[in-house]
């Protein structure tokens, strides 16, 4: 015996599927569009079958091939003639297509054998049997029925505890139908005692009424169109487009008025060349007036049930609300006038499906597969064997181009073997394309629409005649749009822009176009100006575009485009923090164009660079030279400390080569017309690259080890930190976020910089940890007077700090400690450039 677990709300307008699993109910979502509800509409288009929202779009326009509301015809001998098929279909067949489609919602791949399907309380035996037939045709071998009011009650009672004995009313106002049922519960036994309903009353009628009563009078008053209302509702009439637009907007307004007291509907209309703009305010009161007659009808039916069953409102426990239209506050207010308390605890749109799933949890059936051999292994073997047999009988070959620059790509499907009555379907991974269900033929073609610039993934699924998926025939189709095409050329190296790294008083590279991107490429960067540039001054903003490795230091890359905007070119001062927009374009032939817009001065600068000419900024070159010199000297110091004499000698050699250019560099002026700037830039670039490679793998490994050591140090001490913990943790996360890229870069200077930043953070962590501060304070207290810059002040601070410590005022103590450290004779190991100017781009 196995629990059924699956419940389906097979509705007149919408259907849902849910599953009970370990105390929870999951409502499955449509993999296409991710909605929980499926429109109960089936369309037979010329070459494919559609079920759901897409089918509903064609309901009015292709009524000879598209069918909805067939639930009302279940159990009758009604036949629908389908022009495209040239055959009749029954309501049972149509319902089975909806049920099959709902099975596709089950993303876990599980194929349920048994199911609970809900039916209205009014369904007779013929209608009930017809529903069972539909579910059987959809591939369910065991089908149990459950009345909708009972399902809704179950959804509620499974959420609350306590005594449920007595009479309950289930008020179900959906999109197109209304039902009210009297449910009696005695010791867990539920019975529908009576019911009333109207198959043509629901939310859609309310939308129609809103358009007619609230919008049409305003339109007529302003435009004076005769017979406007009549023309508005006319199929293929002059205002058909407006009518659907108004219906959509009133539905949105109706939802808005459930939460707010007022809303507005905006639209425009052109009559005989004159354009009219409308902005109509609608209040909740107006909505209430419009829907009052409809709601009164439902209340009348509710009263009929109470009277017919000789009950008083006091004898009814509560009214349980079902259906999306019960979310309207007026509906709830009016129901309260009956004197019966209104229960809105369950989600009215999913209540029936949820209740069906709860019922399914306690309903059992004999799995067919278990009757021959109950073991799981045997069952799996049989499924695999069956699929293999099918695969042997059915062979599918697909063919398509794996890359494309077109808007769509052709897929060819070739089928061999026994494919009679089999169907296939293709869905795009993002949910924006669904081919619908199509019959499998010996040869089929399908145009697959592609999203530009991304990898488009499609899934081709094949189904047998019972809509069971033949898993071995499935295919994943991946098509890259805009990539690896012969008409586009990939970029051999990263293209970056140099921006300021103010914190470290240096510059860094920011990626513009990634290596292997297909040309042409275009990107707009939005940044802020990082220093104020006065009109007429020599200070400048430097836009330096380089080609190379994004992880390397800027000087190691090849400068391919540079624009300098000096204060002399500005029409007004450019204030720090103002915006700069930089649009960078690279054509297929690799010509680079840079357009700059300074938002504050509203000035545009444009330059097109031919990549055969180098662009070098003298100002940046001087700074980069200084930075490299400083790095080399620091490196030599650390090699000497680590006794790496070979590396030390090599670095010294590089430093000497660099220093040989210093004289020429100092002489270099911005307006120098000689090749000097290019010669120096070339040398600096070569030395920078050589320094990155110095020590090879051994140095890289040693730096990686050092990096992890520094990281572990910070991580360990962060757990003990007493002050600014959150900020420090965030800094740590930021520093280590790009760790994998950092290690992949295999660039010594990048690693050195990361280690330096981690070490800096490590010190900051220690200086926010009480235990460290106390021990350090004890050491400083022992210092002699000549170790302080001002011993008198230091002595007074030492006393105050000791006092705070004795009183355990740690925040105060920390402040005194900081003040004290400023009075220490302290030599900075790393002298940053005090006159750092940078690019001016933050």
């Amino acid at each position: 015996m196995k629990s059924v677990n699956f419940g389906i709300d097979l509705g007149t307008t919408n259907s849902l599927i849910a599953k009970y699993d370990q105390g929870n109910v999951t409502i499955y979502k449509n993999p296409v569009g991710h909605k929980e509800t499926l429109a109960s509409v089936v369309a037979f288009r010329p070459d494919r079958r559609l079920v759901g929202d897409k089918a509903r779009e064609y309901l009015l326009k292709d009524s000879v091939n598209v069918f909805g509301s067939f639930k009302r015809k279940m159990g009758t001998d009604e036949r629908y003639y389908v022009v495209n098929l040239d055959e009749n279909v029954t309501p049972i067949q149509l319902s089975s297509y909806v049920l099959m489609e709902l099975k596709n919602f089950i993303h876990s791949g599980e194929v349920p054998e048994a199911v609970i399907v809900t039916i209205p309380a009014s369904f007779d035996t013929m209608q009930s049997n017809a529903t069972i037939k539909a579910a059987t045709a959809a591939g369910f071998s065991e089908v149990f029925l459950l009345q909708e009011p009972i399902a809704a009650s179950l959804a509620y009672f499974n959420q609350v505890s306590g005594d449920s004995n007595g009479n309950w009313l289930v008020y179900d106002l959906g999109g197109g139908t209304f039902d009210v049922a009297l449910v009696n519960i005695q010791q867990g036994d539920m019975k529908v005692l009576d019911h009333e309903g109207n198959n043509f009353l629901g939310g859609v009628d309310i939308d129609f009424a809103l358009v007619e009563q609230l919008l049409v009078p305003s339109i007529v008053a302003r435009t004076g169109i005769e017979n406007f209302e009549e023309q508005l509702r006319q199929t293929y009439g002059p205002y058909e487009k407006l009518y659907h637009q108004l219906l959509y907007k009133t539905e949105e307004a109706k939802k808005e008025l459930s939460a707010h007291q007022t809303t507005n509907i905006e639209f425009e209309l052109t009559v005989e060349g004159q354009r009219y703009e409308f902005d109509i305010d609608i209040t909740r009161e107006q909505l209430n007036e419009v829907i009052a007659p409809t709601i009164q009808q439902t209340l009348h039916m509710l009263q009929q049930i109470i009277t017919r069953n000789q009950l008083t409102p006091q004898e009814i426990r509560q009214i349980i609300l079902v259906g999306g239209s019960t979310l309207i506050p007026y509906v709830r207010e009016q129901l309260q006038t009956t004197g019966i308390s209104v229960n809105a605890d369950v989600d009215p749109t999913t209540a029936v499906a949820v209740g069906a799933a709860y019922y399914a949890a306690n309903k059992y059936y004999h799995p067919k597969s278990a009757t021959t051999d109950p073991s799981l292994d045997a069952l799996l073997d049989r499924i695999v064997q069956e699929e293999e047999e099918l695969t042997e009988r059915l062979h599918i070959d697909i063919s398509y181009s794996k890359s494309s620059q077109d808007e769509e790509e052709l897929l060819l499907i070739k089928t061999d073997g026994d494919y009679e009555r089999c169907t296939y379907r293709i869905i795009r991974n993002d949910g924006a394309y669904d081919s619908g269900v199509m019959p499998l033929k010996s040869k089929s073609t399908e145009f697959l629409p592609l999203m530009p610039g991304v990898l488009n993934k499609f899934f081709l699924r094949v189904y047998d005649e019972f809509q069971h998926e033949i898993k071995t025939a499935a295919h994943e189709i991946s098509i890259s749009h805009g990539q690896f095409s012969i008409s586009g050329q990939p970029l051999p190296r990263d293209i970056c822009i140099e921006v300021d790294d103010k914190e470290n008083k240096t510059t860094k590279l920011e990626l513009v176009f990634e290596k292997n991107s297909i040309l042409p490429q275009k990107k707009t960067l939005y940044r802020t100006i990082s220093k104020t540039i006065t009109k007429g001054a020599d200070e400048k903003v430097i836009i330096n575009i380089v080609e190379g490795d994004r992880y390397a230091r800027p000087i190691s890359n090849l400068p391919i485009g540079c624009i300098e905007i000096a204060g002399t070119k500005l029409t007004s001062d450019l204030i720090k923090g103002s915006d700069i927009e930089i649009q960078i374009t690279m054509t297929e032939s690799r010509s680079l164009s840079v357009e700059i817009y300074l938002v504050m001065t509203q000035q545009e600068f444009k330059n097109v660079f031919s990549l055969s000419e180098k662009q070098v900024s003298v100002a940046r070159l001087k700074e980069q030279y200084d930075e490299l010199e400083r790095e080399l000297r620091n490196g030599m110091r650390s090699f000497s400390y680590e006794s790496e004499s070979v590396w030390m000698a090599h670095a010294n050699d590089l430093l000497e080569q660099l220093l040989s250019q210093k004289k020429a560099l100092l002489k270099l002026k911005e307006n120098d017309k000689t090749d000097a700037r290019y010669i120096i830039a070339e040398t600096v670039n070569r030395i920078s690259q050589a320094y990155d490679k110095l020590g090879g793998n051994e140095r890289l490994e040693s730096l990686q080890f050092e990096y992890f050591e520094a990281k572990e140090f910070v991580e360990t001490h962060l757990s003990m930190v007493d002050h600014n913990k959150e900020r420090l943790q965030q800094s740590f996360r930021q520093l280590t976020a790009a760790e994998s890229q950092l290690l992949r870069s295999r660039n010594s200077s990048v690693l050195e910089r990361a280690i330096e930043q981690l070490n800096k953070l490590g010190w900051e962590v220690l200086y926010n940890t009480n235990s460290f501060l106390i021990s350090r304070f004890a050491m400083i207290s022992e210092y002699s007077a000549d170790q302080f810059t001002n011993y008198t002040s230091a002595r007074s601070i030492l006393q105050m700090a000791q006092k705070s410590l004795d009183q355990e005022k740690f925040v105060e103590f920390r402040q005194h400690f900081y003040n004290l450290t400023h009075l220490l004779k302290y030599e900075k190991a790393y002298q940053e450039n005090p006159d750092f100017k940078g690019t001016g781009i933050g």
Binding site: Q245, E268, D434
Partner: protein
């Protein structure tokens, strides 16, 4: 999830109104900047106006105006299509709401 969609829909509507009043040119830069910022957050907004329409397009909810035909085109966009990009994969966040007519 809901608030970004509300903002994007309002922004789209604002842009349409400015186009209609021929004021868009004055704020093109600002609008482009806002769209760009949303794209950096992974939200892609697509206006399918004048694109071809077929029943396989599940990125839009269409209302067919006039006679239904084999070749149809989107003639009015009430709500744009919105995708969310996460780890290089797109997911449809909002279907466009459109009117379609025969070509």
């Amino acid at each position: 999830m809901k608030q970004p969609l509300v903002i994007l829909n309002q922004l789209f509507e604002l842009e349409q109104k400015l186009k209609l009043e021929q004021l868009e040119e004055k704020v093109t830069r600002n609008l482009q900047r806002i769209w760009n910022a949303w794209e950096e957050e992974g939200y892609l907004c697509k206006n399918p106006l004048h694109e071809n329409y077929s029943e396989t397009r599940t990125d839009v909810e269409a209302t067919i105006i006039g006679q239904e035909a084999k070749h149809m085109v989107i003639t009015q966009v009430i709500k744009p299509i919105i995708f969310k990009k996460e780890q290089q994969e797109l997911t449809l966040l909002q279907k466009g709401v459109v009117m379609v007519e025969r070509k």
